[in-house]
Amino acid sequence: MGNITSRFPNLITIPKLLWLLAGIVILIIPPISTTATITMVSRIMIFAVYAMAYDILRGYIGIIHLGFALFIGGGTYFVAILFANVGISIPILLLAIVGTTIYSIIWALIVGKIAAKSGLLATAMITMAFAEIMRNMMERWRTVTNGLDGLTFRVPAPFDNRTFMYYACFVFLLLMAFALYKFTTSPTGRVWQAVRENEQRAVFLGYDTNRARTIALLVSGVVAGLAGVMFALLNRFANTDVLAMQMTYNAMLYSLVGGSGSLFGSIIGSAVVVLFQNFLLDLRGVHFIFERWLIFFGSLYILVVIFMPKGIMGFVETIRERWKHKKGGKIYES
């Protein structure tokens, strides 16, 4: 199978030029686009962070977390409830961030304890139940959350400026990507991958797999919670859909389409899926067949599974390996 760390390209091996190009494109979008486009790209960036956090669990440590929505939902609701009921200001936003972090830490520790005792499947089912519990709670707590109808609220300056929000999302994406990159290439990150490959062997080699797992859950949960905070600031609205199964499916699908086990893959997956959905919705006006856009959307997933089972990044890596093989050069990047 080869060296684990080079199975998927990590951030450094992508040509620097491509990075710079992508960065420039992202930076110049606001002045030349409509608000709707700016909002869409902001949404892509937030979901990219969310998917990256999910992939830490699925692609690195190998936990299937079927209730992942409870982290992003938690972040969103902390902001929404505080803004709608207490007040709108930066200090309150900081309070929401602190609250989200504590909330994510608590849930991460709970799931960590459970995952240590139970198998993969049991953990998956139990996490699904946790998300449903949170969703139910928020739905019943109507006086505070308004349930499915949702809460609208304003956001403090300068977040009410969409262009500022866009750049804030970009900086957020960079920071989180950098942080997660550092984690995944650190010794702890290597232990994560060891646990994913063969937990028993990792234990025999003397690694504390429970500790590694807890760290993965903490990192992943807090990052997803912060993504929730940004999500609330972007939409200025929160309802129980943000805690529903569909939100967890979104994370799964974005990271799968992009390529599980590679951080950059989640960013690409998020961009591809959201852009494709918007592209299809825009086509409604062109031809009536696109009213059934969900068919095309579903086809995307089917095609990815059939032709690119390792996701887009996996596909790119396969092409690169074949190309290197052809050239007779080194297969492994140093």
Binding site: T34, T39, A84, G147, D149, F231, F237, N239, D241, Q246
Partner: protein
Amino acid sequence: MSLKKCIVLFLTLSMFAVMAACGESAPAGGGSGGEGSPLRIGAITSLSGALQSYGEDFQRGFYLGLEYMTNNTFTVAGRPIEIIWEDTTNTPDVARERTLSLLERDRVELVTGFASSGDAMASLALFEEFRTVAVIDPAAADAIIAAPNWNEYIFRTGRTSGQDALAMVSVLQNLHPEGGVTVATLAPDSTFGFAMVDPFIAAAEAAGFDVLLTEFIPPDATDASPQLLRLRSAAPQYLYTIWAGPNSPWIQIDELDLQGAGVTLITGAPERDALAAMIPLGQMGGIGFCVYYYTLPQNQHLNDWMVRRHFEEHNMAPDLFTSGGFAAASAIITALEITGGVTDPDVLIPTMRGMEFNTPTGMRYFRYEDHQAMQDLFEIDFTWQEGDEYMVPSFRRVIGRDEIVPPILNGR
């Protein structure tokens, strides 16, 4: 360049970009357009997802409404009408984005639609920001016209949950003018259930009824025996059952013979697909209210026309949300005929406030304080005969719009 330097460069560039870009772009105001210039209307609703049939019914009704109100010319005050349809996919953040696209990229002068209250709630603030009037139908949440969500650009032709509750109480009051009625409720344990029960309890208590029990069933539960048995032993005179979606409780209510305990079932009749699940109710008999069923409006020329045209075009009867689409079109055309095609909110909003407009269920008008349409509903019997594909609501009387005035929730 090392990764570190890359990141520092990006962050620096970002900072400069933020400082440079921190200027507000002026929001697009509702343009007034000149004589003869096309009138762009943005119609956005759930055209996929759980409420797809609601959105499609609205679409059909909207076109028929425009056809009738413009005499098949599809122009108003000399301006040809152009409609741009968008799909919210029944997801609030997508709804918000598509609304934004309509307001900014397509520069629509009016927006209409929203089948899902969540979608509507997520988009309300945009109408104020872009100074564009929105006519909402059929999203029914009371929250839409409540503070702090409401703003003066929002008009709703569809009914609000509060009106449903008051209609139910009005039915009971009409049956028992002397009072002394005991009621109970049965609803799904969800936002929809609570949104229907809360105003009903408030109205029932205000009318002097005795609310014995409020029971809630998990929406996906297949067995409601605990709740139904409690209701049977409490034996209220009337049980107001609210349900939408699968696993409806009607069959179980019949099995557990609540009627034998002296309970009469009351409920609101929904759209045809849901009526199909209510056949047991039609067999048991009961009384209730209905927002629209195509045989209910009496002597309503608009409804007769719409039913006839709908059969011609689509080979089936119009449904609940078709009437809503028609009403939205009617409100828009009526208003624009008065303003002469001007959609500037400074002219349009004062015009629409208090404005009366004709709809398949009769005349409606927008209340001054919150722009909610005051409208008639119908009192009905539940009937079913061999061969009916669904429970058929049968007319008893019109519940007048002045009997069902919901509380003003936006602080005005």
